[in-house]
Symmetry: C2
């Protein structure tokens, strides 16, 4: 029989379609392996084409010191503009704000053919340090209300350029969805006197069945009410509302956990398209006791259809416990033991 499960954090119901459930390996889309060059002449993110991007915002130099390992540039096709004014206009039902904001591209590596799952841990740690550096800098601007950091990998995940990169969009508003989830967490804290994320992590670590990987500082798991197959959030074990609070030791550990989970997806599910995003409290709420930041990794193995669009509910055809077991069993060279 199918089962409805309610996401504890968002309150949204998910249908776990046990009757038509698929084994994790059935979800794999077999695709022909293609050879990707390490350097592509007309790729604006490749070495030698630095002049074709807008002026660089920051870089991490390479080991030799003669080039770069990670590079940040403004998005040439930015969704928002730092030149706009964040002025609000209200005219009956119409609410607008000038499209002020910052849209960065973080070029993860000079190597066009790389993917994050296969980068060295220390390199991923440098990408995370760049995320934090930009997050911190933009959070200081009083015109910025919220910063979303994300990665699109593959066409089904909305990536339009092949060269591995991440993005950051800083907005002058807090989205309704972020605000709403924040309010849910606040209501929980007010009722129970504890962070709902900390509580859930404790429960999940006791139960173990949905844990993919746990280290000293992070836990990667499947949600009890996971909306889509293999959607894997990574939570810091220490309570922190804001990504900006991550310590150097935690960055090194997150690099290892992120690499391991991405490598498990890469090897176990044959390089699926995916997004990841860092969900943090808005900058003005740094230090609150009720919200807990996390990284959400979302493989794009299914399509949202009319039911999802019309109700907000999802139908998940892979049982979360089976997905967790599958990912635990994918061995990767960095194999940090599953569970506690």
């Amino acid at each position: 029989m199918p089962e409805l499960r309610q996401n504890y954090f968002t309150k949204e119901w998910v249908i776990i379609a046990t009757d038509r459930a698929k084994r994790p390996e059935e979800m794999v889309k077999h695709r022909e392996a293609k050879t990707v060059a390490r350097h592509v002449e007309n790729c604006v993110f490749c070495v030698g084409n630095e002049g074709k991007t807008p002026p660089e915002v920051m870089r991490v130099p390479n080991a030799a010191g003669d080039s770069w390992q990670v590079r940040v540039v403004p998005n040439k096709f930015a969704a928002l503009s730092p030149e706009a004014q964040p002025t609000r206009t209200i005219q009956r039902s119409r609410r607008t704000m000038g499209g002020f904001g910052v849209h960065d591209v973080i070029i993860d590596t000079p190597d066009h053919s790389q993917i994050m799952a296969l980068l060295p841990e220390a390199h991923i740690a440098n990408v995370l340090k760049v995320y934090k550096s930009r997050y911190d800098a933009l959070s200081l601007d009083p015109r910025i209300a919220h910063v979303t950091i994300f990665k699109n990998h593959g066409g089904d995940a909305g990536a339009s350029l092949e060269h591995p990169h991440s993005q950051l969009i800083a907005t002058p508003v807090i989205s309704h969805q972020v605000r709403e989830r924040f309010q849910q967490a606040l209501a929980h804290y007010d009722e129970y006197g504890e962070c709902m994320f900390c509580q859930t992590l404790e429960e999940e670590m006791t139960e173990q069945s949905r844990i993919v990987l746990a280290t000293d500082h992070f836990v990667a798991m499947e949600l009890f009410a996971s909306p889509t197959p293999f959607c894997t959030p990574i939570y810091p074990r220490r309570h922190m509302a804001s990504f900006g609070d991550i310590s150097a030791v935690e960055i090194a550990d997150l690099a290892r956990v992120l690499k391991t989970v991405l490598a498990k997806l890469y090897h176990g599910l044959e390089n699926p398209d995916f997004n990841f995003t860092i969900r943090s409290a808005p900058a003005e709420y740094v230090g609150v006791k009720h919200f807990h930041w996390y990284v959400s990794i979302i493989p794009r193995m299914t399509r949202t259809a009319g039911f999802e669009l019309g109700s907000g509910m999802f139908i998940n055809t892979v049982v979360p416990e089976a997905a967790a077991e599958f990912l635990r069993n994918v061995k990767v060279e960095l194999g940090v033991g599953a569970g506690g």
Copy 2:
């Protein structure tokens, strides 16, 4: 300069990316026309294969009376089961409910090669009557909390079968998203003493720039803060909270409006993949003054990526006023004049 616009109904912000805005015709995905047979031997929805579906729930006979025009059957791969018990279990952070529910397939036409945009109006009216009949019948069941009616057209919209069909999923819960939008509408009513949808329709009919089509009973338009290109809701002009309240005259008019909008998308954008869904107040709220049902038509011309998943905000690369103008100018044989 880009502009942020806030959806009046959901409170969500949308980035209208004017700087990288595309002309409506640039959004067209040219695809090779393919010939589809009117009858496919191994299609379970085609005439002659009635025995291959679960037992029929209802049918509309064809004109000759020897076969059917529209047919409703239980989904063979149902997401929810009428045999399950809607029993709730709460165990710390884990909330479950037995997967009780009803999952119908509405086979729109016996003709495998047809699409809804090209069906005669009277035929579409019969499909809508079937929607209403099933909506009414299921709403009587006290175990059913909400009914979602939807259509998936094309692979990018999540359709797995080619034969034209719609679906209905009746759930024992009201989704958080539906509940939340309902609460927004209630808060508006309590503050202003009017339905926010009725107010907006009045404003939009005065302004005209976002209207695609208006008849005696319905208005099809682009939202001021439309999240995706050509997303076109159709609102009844008379205040009704529930789709079940639609009258016979309104059904006939909706058939005409739905056909016209779908035909404009079909001819103007070369048969894009799309979903539509009927968003109605939950059954128990029939008659409330603050909510207003509507049909939402959502062409799937872009992909949600990490920013959308991480923030809930969308980036729309077609200005809603340009989309409305484009659709107004697509002439279809049923061309009811644009505007008031």
